[in-house]
Symmetry: C2
Amino acid sequence: MIGIFDSGMGGLTTVRAIIERLPGYDLVYFGDNARTPYGNKSRETIIHYALQNTEFLLSQGAKIIIVACNTASSVATDSIQQTYHVPLFEVISPAVDCALQTSKHLQIGVIGTKATISSNIYPFKIKAKCPEARVFSQACPLLVPLVEEGWLNKPETRMIVKKYLIPLKTRQIDTLILGCTHYPLLKKSIQAKIGKRTTIIDSSIAVADSVADYLQSNPEIDSQLSKQGQTTFYVSDVTEHFQKTAETILKRRVHLNYVRL
Amino acid sequence: MIGIFDSGMGGLTTVRAIIERLPGYDLVYFGDNARTPYGNKSRETIIHYALQNTEFLLSQGAKIIIVACNTASSVATDSIQQTYHVPLFEVISPAVDCALQTSKHLQIGVIGTKATISSNIYPFKIKAKCPEARVFSQACPLLVPLVEEGWLNKPETRMIVKKYLIPLKTRQIDTLILGCTHYPLLKKSIQAKIGKRTTIIDSSIAVADSVADYLQSNPEIDSQLSKQGQTTFYVSDVTEHFQKTAETILKRRVHLNYVRL
């Protein structure tokens, strides 16, 4: 199976993208909503959680792992790779590649959680591939709770989005990376505030393309993956709110299995 | 020692109140910021965390326990009491007593997290003591992240506070219980929006009075408590943000000890 984890529900946008891009592949998802959010927590704690989540997915039969959480991708990818020998996908690199293909003037903005932005992973990866690019980052810690509350179109949300984006707008960025799996749900407000001339990069689509390319080039891995079109959902906390949001994002009924890590 | 726990930093307002009311008593605090916030999580998960936190404080020599978190107080008090035989204080009952003493027209409002409000603990306790009281509750899930971000005086915060309080203002409440330890930090905005005629009840002060009364009536417990004026802080995640906020709330230097539960 393809294993996917996130700190909570944000990674379901990646599940949706994988199902669209690789229909028929079996997926196992783990949402760590008993300990969500990760974005304000320390590096050490995020790494500890990411290793536990990976181990759980492997125990469920995952043969490749997608870290569908920008915070965990930013902070814990190296630790996971050093601990487990498994094909590993994170959501940063595909978004970086996509941004560099898209940007005309190489003025690139990145928004994410505090942990993601302070890791400096996006500027580091962008400049490694394209030293002349200029990268402007902005932590937006209130956007995750606003999305979790379902306040997608409220005036308060639009004001907060505007406040966060002003410094990036001033820099005249032409490309904006949504560096958090929750943010695609605010894409409309973000596009309205940053302006039509800025192209928005949604990492969930970029990572699905990258996994599909990998499987095409690595048929020996592809042949290990079961393909009965089943997705199994595990969560560390079962709430009605998660259930509802999952069904809204995936547009289907979802059965949540509880597991305590 | 007096043991106090909270899901994170909100309980520090209770620490401050206890230090003022019972100067000289030794305190041990545990902030579960690796798993914060509790307010959107399920009953089962909150009870599991509260029992772990209590056990930790007892292992550190706590002789009485204060649950300085409305969410855990609402959901987990019975479970803690059934599991550990220790004098236990929660933040609900003292606030209820204080509200009933204060309210003239018995029109009482309560604001709190989703878990606190959906537990119905405040209306239940108020009506048990005063069946003719009318209680109006409102979950305010975005206030905790706004406080954690330090957005105490921003226009966006005032708008969100106003939106949450409108249904209570319509009911012409004369007393409003701040049913979350984070909310005293927003007291100014809350008072401005709910109006001068409504008295605000801050549970951190109410619980400190209640502990002081208990110790006066139970000298055999009081004599077991060490009194060297020391407060020891444990957290499940060490972040600079927590450190700064703790020092702002307590107006002194704070050393954080890390513990993984």
